[in-house]
Every structure is written in structure tokens, then in C-alpha cells.
């Protein structure tokens, strides 16, 4: 559904403020289709993320924009110009590679100056811009070092500087923080975000880390098996996933397969395969359901409440037993086995004084507006 949903009918590409456009792009490698009909429109100055599990075609999509791959079908447009078969060295984009791909035989300074020297800029201009960029990434102190003498985070900064110094129209980032440890990754996320704000450049980032994508991006496209599942702002993606895959991939969720058995103006009643009856508030989105249609209900773990009393007045309330508790510091993750046999995960703030033993009945409840009905295709 997604590709058609994002297509802009009057996409005329020239002066609509679009930096990158992919139109029905396919890429086939040795008979395997890595990218199937991707449509993307990335606006000027946007921080756009392509998110998905490994092997979903996200890196191939980025490489199609960079020009390292030529599409098997479809069109790549950068700043209004068709770039489908233009080689990478004639595209106004620069890439930060996951492995950095720094030139080990050159110093930090020479690495950064590489692109400018190739373009044949005068020496003084090169020196000035390299200096400026070194300052931007806070690497002035390492000018004459070789890449092998730097830590992972420092190499990352050099890779960023080497791309940014060319003042590209679009900066492509291929899992830029994937090789860094957690603490450094958080730091670099903040810096990336600052850089994006200061420079006003279009950033296109590929990542499999949903948290990273949610925290950094203006918009996210979620990819699955070579196709785009959904494009939207982080909150749209998280709050209103349009498919079970997106709901499951972004954040944690509990999924119940079932069928629609009753519909009215405001609520959809779903009966699950395990005979649970769940009431779901209708979303404002255009999706409409038919009676008996196979669907999936998604409930986020943090939207579920646990109680020892079956006192929930309205909404969905199910009896179960506490099976397992994972202590996560600020939160606890409880696994509850409902009487229907379903196991659900519940995320609770760490305020429980004492937890009930596995024999005590416990009640899990959530309101109809805290859950979603999704089409049941392609749930893994």
C-alpha cells in the first residue's frame, strides 16, 4: 500500500524543493531482487532515514542514490536532474561509509582535502575549507595523523569531514554509527543532529537501529524485503504503524492474529485465534475493514496496565499469570501468560513494591484507543 500512498500526483520534480527522488526503482542482483519498486521523495534540508532489518535493501537503495549501483529499472533524480546512469563522481552527493573507507596512506588533512584536490581548487581555498571542516568535526588537533592512529570515533569524524568538505547537496550516511560502542554512538548522534541543523544539508541515513532513526530523523521510511512499508515522521511511524511489520519492527509490540467480527461507528471488535475478544477504537486513517477480515491487533507493551483486581471498568481486560520478570533499571518487563494461552509483554515503570507469584491471578488491561488493527499480510 505504501508506495502508492506516498506518491505525489503532481510531482513535477523541478522546483518542489525535492533533493532526491526515486521513481519506481528496481535493482536485481543475479536474479535476486534487492529493491522492488521504491518510490521516495526526500525534501531539501531533511534528515531522512531508511530503516529496516538487514537484507531489506536499504543499503542498496542508498548505493543507488550514490551511484555505486545502477537501477535495473526506474529513475533516480537528484535536485531535479535525472541521475539514473550518471557515475558517482559526477553526482552532487557524498557518502560516509559504514567502514569509513579512509585512505590509510594519507594523513587526516590529505584525506579531507582529497575531494577538493581532485576538483582542482586553488591551494589556498583547499587549506581554508579543510581547516573549517576540521573545526566543524573538532579534529583540528589530529591534522597530521594517519587514520590508523585514530580511534573509531575519530575516524568517524574524519569520514564525515571528508564528505562534508565538498559541500554536497545530499549527505549519504550508511550505518554511520554502527561500528561505535554505545556511549560514543549516543554522543555522535547528538553531533550528527547538530551538524544537520547547522549546515541545513539534506541527510539520508541508512540504519537498522530504530532508536537512532526515531531520535534523529525528520522522516523515516521503513523497508522490508525490498519495498517501502511506510514513510512518515517518527511519531507517525511509532503511533500509527500501517502494517504489522512496522508495528513489530519499530519498538516492541504484542500482536494478536484474528478476525473482525463486529464493526460500529467508533469501534472494531476483533476475535483472536485464541478466542480473545478485543475492542479497538477506530483510527482516523482511511483504512476500512470488512467483517470476517483477517487482521492483526497490535498493543504496545507500555500501554498495558497490570492489576491484581479485575476492576477494569471499560476496555480490554484479560486474566493471566505472571511468568517472567526482566529487571531493566528504570522499567520492568513482565511476561504474562493470559488464560487464552497468549503470552504478552508488559512494560511497567519500576514502581512495583512486590511482584505477585506465578500462581496469583493477574489482570492485564488496555483501553480500545491504545491498540491498533492492522492488515494481516506478511507478518513473520
Amino acid at each position: 500500500m505504501s508506495q502508492t500512498a506516498v506518491q505525489n500526483p503532481d510531482a513535477n520534480s523541478t522546483d518542489t524543493g525535492l533533493d532526491v527522488e526515486l521513481r519506481k526503482v528496481f535493482k536485481v542482483f543475479n536474479g535476486e531482487t534487492a529493491v522492488r519498486g521504491v518510490d521516495l521523495e526526500i525534501h531539501q534540508g531533511e534528515f531522512f532515514s531508511i530503516l529496516g532489518p538487514s537484507g531489506c535493501g536499504k543499503t542498496t537503495t542508498l548505493r543507488l542514490i550514490a551511484g555505486f549501483e545502477m537501477p535495473s529499472a526506474g529513475e533516480v533524480v537528484i535536485q531535479g536532474k535525472s541521475m539514473t546512469y550518471v557515475p558517482p563522481y559526477r553526482r552532487p552527493v557524498n557518502t560516509v561509509f559504514q567502514s569509513y573507507a579512509l585512505f590509510n596512506h594519507l594523513t587526516v588533512w590529505e584525506n579531507i582535502a582529497f575531494g577538493l584536490r581532485i576538483k582542482g581548487l586553488p591551494k589556498a581555498a583547499i587549506a581554508e575549507r579543510v581547516k573549517e571542516t576540521l573545526k566543524l568535526v573538532k579534529m583540528e588537533a589530529f591534522t597530521n595523523r594517519f587514520p590508523t592512529q585514530l580511534s573509531g570515533g575519530q575516524q568517524q569524524r574524519v569520514a564525515l569531514a571528508r564528505a562534508l568538505v565538498n559541500r554536497p547537496a545530499v549527505l549519504l550516511l550508511d550505518e554511520p554509527l554502527g561500528a561505535l560502542d554505545l556511549k560514543l554512538r549516543k554522543e555522535m548522534q547528538v553531533e550528527l543532529s547538530n551538524l544537520h541543523q547547522d549546515l541545513g544539508l539534506t541527510f539520508v541515513m541508512v540504519t537498522h537501529d530504530q532508536e537512532e532513526a526515531l531520535s534523529l530523523s525528520d522522516r523515516i521510511s521503513v523497508m522490508h524485503e525490498g519495498q517501502i512499508e511506510q514513510i512518515g515522521t517518527p511519531s507517525e511511524i511509532y503511533e500509527c504503524p500501517q502494517s504489522a511489520f512496522v508495528a513489530d519492527f519499530i519498538g516492541d509490540t504484542n500482536l494478536f492474529r484474528g478476525r473482525v467480527y463486529a464493526l460500529d461507528a467508533s469501534e472494531i471488535q476483533v476475535v483472536t485465534e485464541t478466542k480473545m475478544k478485543i475492542a479497538v477504537q477506530k483510527q482516523s486513517s482511511s483504512m476500512s475493514w470488512n467483517s470476517q477480515e483477517a487482521v492483526v491487533v497490535s498493543v504496545r507493551p507500555e500501554k498495558i496496565q497490570l492489576n491484581l483486581e479485575p476492576s477494569c471498568v471499560q476496555g480490554n481486560c484479560f486474566e493471566g499469570r505472571l511468568k517472567h520478570v526482566m529487571y531493566l533499571g528504570t522499567h520492568v518487563h513482565c511476561v504474562v501468560e493470559l488464560n487464552s494461552g497468549d503470552r504478552i509483554t508488559v512494560k511497567q515503570p519500576n514502581t512495583f513494591a512486590s511482584l505477585p507469584d506465578p500462581q496469583t491471578p493477574i489482570y492485564a488491561y488496555w483501553t480500545p484507543k491504545d491498540c491498533l488493527v492492522l492488515a494481516s499480510r506478511d507478518t513473520a
Partner: protein, 269 residues
Amino acid sequence: MAKSQLRVQRGFLWQGLFTLLMFFFMYLPILVLALYSFNQSRYSASWEGFTLAWYQKLFSDARILFALQNSLTVAFCAVGVSAVVGTLMAVGLARYRFPGRSLYRGISYLPLIIPDIAIAVATLIFLAVVQIRLSLWTIVASHVVFCLAYVGLIVSTRLADLNPHLEEAALDLGATPFQAFIKVLLPQLMPGIISGCLLAFVLSLDDFLIASFTAGSDATTLPLEIYSRIRTGVKPDINALSVVLMLVSGLVFLIAESIRYQSTEKRLK
């Protein structure tokens, strides 16, 4: 306690003894050769005092100098050709996919396994069939066969260790494929190319078998010269020549290895 210590000591003794024997076995003949190159006696049997006369004689012997010149010409030409072709071959095999690629790869390293005598005989027969007169250049051609394999092998090992995205990074920064090769790939491959060349150089300089089959009448290389002289009896000046040859080969090999070692170190740091 004491017993175990004793055992350790005895084990150590054993290992030491074994190592000593190995060295003895391998290097005693060379040591004797080196020693006798300083012997005053004209007939190598008995020691008659230290002299450098044989080395002096060696460096004033026109035939030996001519042979040395031939050897160096062959080595430099063969290695020069192999350096260029071998590097391109390794890069081509690693970067491009084309039909018959794995067959090509297999065949290109075959000269490392095929016995020299087979290469020598095959080359000789081939040259006879196509009616090319044997000369210094036929030696060069036959040496390119195995030098190419060595250079190709060492460069492709180095290539396999490189980040596969280096060239893409260069292209991304605006370099054309040719610029990317010259400015990024070649400098990174240099340690491999140099050490491959030095190895090939030593092998070419030392080769007797292939040269003896493919040399023209006037194209005597150093090993051929030594062999022809030895047939009339071992003379101390030949001892001296052998020592010089060994030292040069050893030195070149040492340089090759240290370049390779350093480049590995740099990568691992």
C-alpha cells in the same frame, strides 16, 4: 618439584640440540663454502691462510662481470614487466566478474606449482616451434612466466585485505576510475607490489634451470657461468662469487619481508 624442573631442562636441551642439528645440516655446506672463499690455497682442500684475493679476482673478471650484467638485465626486465602486468592482473581478477574468471585465476598461479624443468622444456619446445632464436630476451620471457605468478599472488593477497569500499570512496569524492586507481588503490597496494617484485627479483637472479634451457649462445647469466666453471673443478673465486650472490639474495629477501611485515603491522595497529 626438582624432578619436573629437570624434565623442563632436559626438554629444553633436546629442543636446543635439535635446532642446532637442523642449522648444522642446512647451513654447514654454505658455511664451508664461505670459509673457503677466504682460503689462500688454490685447490680448496686444505686451509692455508686468510685472503681477499679471490674477491679481488672476481671483480676484475670480465666474463663474470658480463654474466652479472646479463643476470641483472634479465631480472630487471622480467620483474618490470611482471610488476605492471601482475598488478593489473590481480586487480582485474579481484574487481571484475567475467566468464572464465576462476579458471584464469587458477591458471595464473600455476607456474608456482609446475616444476621448473617442465616450464623450461615447454618453453624451449615452444620457442623451437615458433622459430624464435634463443637469446637474452628468451630468458626474460621465460622468467616473466614465474615472476608474474609471484607478483600476482602477493598483490592479490594484499588486495584481499584492503577495504573494498576504498575505490568507491574515491569515486564518491569525485575521482574518475583512473584517478581512483592511481591515487588510492596503487599507493595502498605498493607494499605488496614491492615485496612481490623483490621476491621475483631474487628468484630470477638465482634461476639456473630455466635459463640454461632458454639462453642463447652469448646470453650467459651468472648461475650459468658458475656452472660452466665448476665443471672444470671448484675454484675459490667461484666460492667467493657464490657468497656474494647469496648475500645479495638474502638482503633483497630480507628487505621484501620487512616491507611486508611493516605494512601488516601498520594495518593491525
